[in-house]
């Protein structure tokens, strides 16, 4: 039996230690699972967590991989802090990418200084619009945003699939489901480091992601808007008492998280792909949920958490190549990591004591 007694205060060291311990335990458990399944655990861990970052350009690529995760998770933090469970960031990402793609493909001759801002705004609006559906249904009809945002993700996946196979398909694509390539002005350029030149796939979107996370942190911790979000999440009745509107906060956080996801979709396509295709995201919208939790819903920590999770993603690729593991295996790490973190959160909030059940009773169930 596990019994929980609430802590009066949370020691700071515990707060800082939790993610580290969770990561360490995840490695141990992950290695054990690999061992049981007949893989060499050390080789697997090496392929997962060391091999992907053994050269500077690989480190740069880690940032590239983390870029959409950081952007999305920074937005999701607002929703989760407000107790609004947007789990449809994947769909919002797709709609953002499509909206930005619409701008890029409809007006390919826009000059760079107009194109880029227009695409950024379109991307954010696309994600925001998709996020507004669960938000408005929730505020108007009290529907469950978890289910609606999730259902809309499937709708979005099917929608982009139809779009790139149908109306937006490049006639020159030989039947492949691809739109035409974006014009140069619609692409995010690579970073040229002084003296080094390009480093891996490092692009300016990464800088944007870091700025975005910082801005999110500032807004959440210092602005009255962030205060509203936190109050509504912690004690909605006190929020109404303070004069905040639950509906407005729901709409706001769905807008922020949807817009962030849409921006991530725009950045991902413009920086890494250059055209729309059925698969533009590799579950970034879902993975970002883990990032948000790993960061304990703090946008600054999202940067580090994004890098950690991106490492697991790259590790999946590397393990696939070197050890012939299926790519989804990275989900094992992500899942365990999230389990560990959630349990760690409990250790933070409670004194946890374990005891053997003395005469385990199951009253009321005994006559079942």
């Amino acid at each position: 039996m596990i019994s929980l007694t609430p802590r009066k205060e949370i020691p700071l060291t515990l707060t800082l230690m939790t993610p580290l311990v969770a990561i360490a335990l995840t490695l141990v458990v992950g290695a054990a699972i690999f061992g049981i399944l007949g893989y060499d655990p050390l080789a697997a861990l090496y392929q997962f967590f060391i091999a992907p970052v053994s050269r500077p350009d690989q480190v740069a690529d880690l940032f590239v991989k983390a870029c959409p995760l950081i952007i999305i998770a920074s937005g999701l933090v607002f929703a989760y802090r407000a107790n609004v469970w947007n789990i449809g960031a994947e769909g919002q990402l797709i709609l953002g990418a499509m909206a930005a793609g619409f701008v890029a493909l409809t007006w390919p001759n826009l000059p760079g200084p107009v194109m880029m801002p227009a695409m950024i705004i379109a991307g954010m609006l696309g994600g925001l619009a998709w996020g507004m559906i669960p938000a408005l249904l929730k505020t108007r009809f009290n529907t469950n945003e978890i289910l609606v945002s999730l259902m809309l993700t499937y709708v979005a996946v099917l929608f982009i699939d139809w779009t790139v196979r149908g109306p937006w398909r490049d006639p020159m694509s030989f039947g492949f489901p691809l739109t035409p390539m974006y014009a140069d002005a619609a692409l995010i350029s690579r970073v040229e480091l002084p003296g080094i030149g390009r480093l891996g796939q490092l692009h300016w979107g990464v800088a944007g992601a870091l700025i975005f996370a910082l801005a999110a942190w500032f807004m959440l911790s210092r602005s009255i808007l962030g205060f509203q979000v936190k109050v509504m999440g912690d004690a909605p009745r006190a929020g109404r008492f303070a004069g905040f509107s639950p509906a407005m906060v729901t709409i706001m956080v769905m807008g922020i998280s949807g817009g962030a996801a849409g921006l991530a979709g725009m950045v991902e396509v413009s920086a890494n792909i250059g055209q729309l295709q059925p698969d533009i995201s590799f579950g970034y919208g879902f993975t970002a949920i883990i990032v948000a939790f790993l960061a304990r819903l703090n946008p600054l920590a999202v940067i580090i958490a994004g890098l950690v999770v991106a490492l697991a993603e790259l590790g999946g690729d590397s393990a696939q190549i070197a050890l012939a593991m299926p790519k989804v295996v990275t989900g094992v790490f992500k899942g365990i990591l999230l389990f560990m973190l959630l349990a760690g959160e409990t250790f933070n909030r409670y004194h946890v004591t374990f005891s053997l059940p003395h005469r385990a009773r199951m009253q009321g169930d005994s006559d079942a």
């Binding site: 007694t5 210092r222 009255i224 205060f227 006190a238 509107s245 009253q363 009321g364 006559d367």
Partner: protein, 523 residues
């Protein structure tokens, strides 16, 4: 202090339950410290104490919900470990909870079945319920869904549920807090009949008159310790109160009556609010005015529309008609809480945790909660953290809020301290109109005294105070005028000094006509 039992009724009586040396700790907090208690068969015995004195903790151990850290419980002379509520029920201990433990989505019969040992069909049980209900004149329909029942009906379901278990000890945790004086009388009749049938009743209360009316003996707890067990017949209310509180009960010295007709600062005209849910009380044509310099008390039993009225006054709920609520002649009917605060209103709702304050936030953030629209602490959307911290410290200093550390979480404060903070937070803004619900609920005597003094001071400085309270003593102590809320309708406001408790009690029970007669008789 230990009184000799009344010989007439106790000679043949054997001790049913005897607890000695009971201790219970929650972390650093000692809820019960060497508590002893004894009750005989058929005895009605009160457990008396303030909120937080350890009454609930003690009976939870008797009912098997908690296990004592040390001490011993004897049941019918045998040392017994009461392992669980089910075990308690097997022994013959039943309990009616203060907050009902009924399942809203289930029927009355299903609710009762859950508390009984398995084996009986729901149809048979329903028959038994009907029979018992008829026998005691309780009036409970076994097929009704609980969420369609009134509070009083729900309590009757609880009582029937206990009785069907054929208990030899019935524990009642503040059963009258939701009842009108008249319903209380009926309940007492029922309880006396059980007592005559040999059922012992452990009656928890802090209402002294009730205890004197119903019980034979009372065991008094204070801060988790026994103060003593007394024969209630030999005690006056004042003596019992002294045992309960410790020091002699403080009184607020002569409240000044506002001289004549001062200006009405808050006017409410025909406030109507339909019931939002099946559980809510609709508000029916509520009209009143609160004048400068006075405390207007709004009395009433819980659940008669207090929450709904408070929400309408705060602006958490807003009607569509114009000119229903006005402050200084300005129509605020459709304004939200922030705008109302800007116009000089201050509010303290009944529930501290999660309504008036956010438990998991610091006091500075809790200060920000009701001042963000007032311009000083928020500029261009950004919060001035130093200013909110200073504001919280100022309130804590002025209202004697004891802080365990600098700028603590609201949850780290005791109930009384947090209440002083949320009241102080509003009063320190010197609101023109101050609306407070249950200002001293669950607060120790010292804190209650300082809160009431602060309310009177605010009124004396020319503000209007509206105080919703279920505590008649509080109403009589500090309100200048009083109106009664019953079933969503508000009576005329009367000058408190001219009203008898009896008349107020009748109004609270919905007997407006009888109350009118009482008033005539008085005149």
């Amino acid at each position: 202090m230990i009184a000799t039992p009344r010989p007439s009724r106790n000679q043949s009586r054997s001790v049913l339950l005897n607890a000695s040396g009971i201790c219970k700790h929650f972390g650093d907090f000692t809820a019960n410290d060497d508590v002893s208690f004894s009750i005989g068969e058929g005895e009605i015995h009160a457990l008396l104490g303030e909120n937080g004195a350890g009454k609930s903790t003690f009976v939870k151990m008797v009912y098997g919900l908690l296990q004592p850290d040390s001490g011993q419980i004897e049941w019918r002379g045998q040392p017994t470990v009461i392992r669980s509520p089910q075990h308690a029920r097997e022994l013959g201990i039943g309990m009616v909870f203060q907050h009902f433990s009924l399942f809203q989505a289930l029927t009355v019969a299903e609710n009762i079945a859950l508390a009984l040992p398995p084996g009986e069909s729901l149809a048979d049980l329903a028959d038994r319920v009907r029979r018992m209900s008829a026998e005691y004149g309780i009036g409970v329909d076994p097929d009704a869904r609980v969420h369609n029942l009134s509070v009083g009906q729900q309590q009757r379901v609880e009582i029937v549920r206990c009785l069907l278990q054929d208990p030899s000890l019935l524990i009642m945790d503040e059963p009258t807090s939701v009842l009108t004086p008249q319903e209380t009388g009926q309940l007492f009749d029922v309880l006396r009949r059980f007592s005559e049938a040999g059922v012992a009743i452990l009656f928890i209360s802090h209402k002294l008159e009730e205890i004197r009316a119903l019980t034979e003996r009372a065991t008094v707890l204070r801060r988790g310790r026994n103060v003593g067990t007394v024969d209630t017949a030999g005690q006056s209310s004042k003596q019992l109160a002294e045992m309960m509180v410790g020091d002699s009960v403080g009184d607020i010295a002569g409240q000044a009556r506002p001289d004549g007709q001062t200006t009405a600062l808050l006017e409410v005209a025909s406030l109507v609010r339909p019931a939002g849910t099946a559980f809510a009380t609709p508000l029916r044509q509520i009209s009143f005015a609160a004048r400068a310099g006075e405390v207007l008390g709004i009395a009433g039993i819980a659940g008669n529309g207090q929450d709904e009225l408070m929400e309408a006054l705060i602006g958490e709920w807003r009607g569509r008609d114009a000119d229903v609520i006005r402050i200084d002649g300005v129509d605020i009917t459709r304004e939200g809480p922030s705008r109302r605060r800007q116009l000089g209103l201050g509010f303290v709702p009944e529930e501290r945790n999660g309504h008036a304050a956010v438990p998991n936030m610091t006091l500075a953030d809790n200060a920000l909660l009701t001042s963000h629209s007032l311009g000083r602490v928020v500029t261009r959307g950004l919060v001035d953290a130093d200013a909110t911290r200073a504001m919280a410290a100022e309130v804590a200093g002025a209202f004697d809020v004891r802080l365990p550390q600098e700028n603590p979480m609201a949850s780290a404060l005791s109930g009384g301290n947090l209440q002083k903070f949320v009241v102080g937070r509003e009063i320190s803004k010197r609101p023109r109109v101050f609306i407070v619900s249950q200002p001293t609920w669950g607060v120790d005597v010292g804190a209650a005294l300082s809160i009431r003094t602060a309310i009177l001071d605010l009124a004396a400085s020319g503000s209007a105070v509206v105080m919703i309270s279920q505590d008649l003593e509080e109403i009589f102590t500090i309100s200048h005028r009083v109106a009664v809320l019953y079933d969503g309708a508000l009576s005329e406001a009367m000058v408190t000094a001219d009203v008898t408790p009896e008349r107020l009690g009748l109004l609270m029970g919905g007997s407006a006509a009888a109350a009118g007669l009482a008033a005539e008789a008085q005149a």
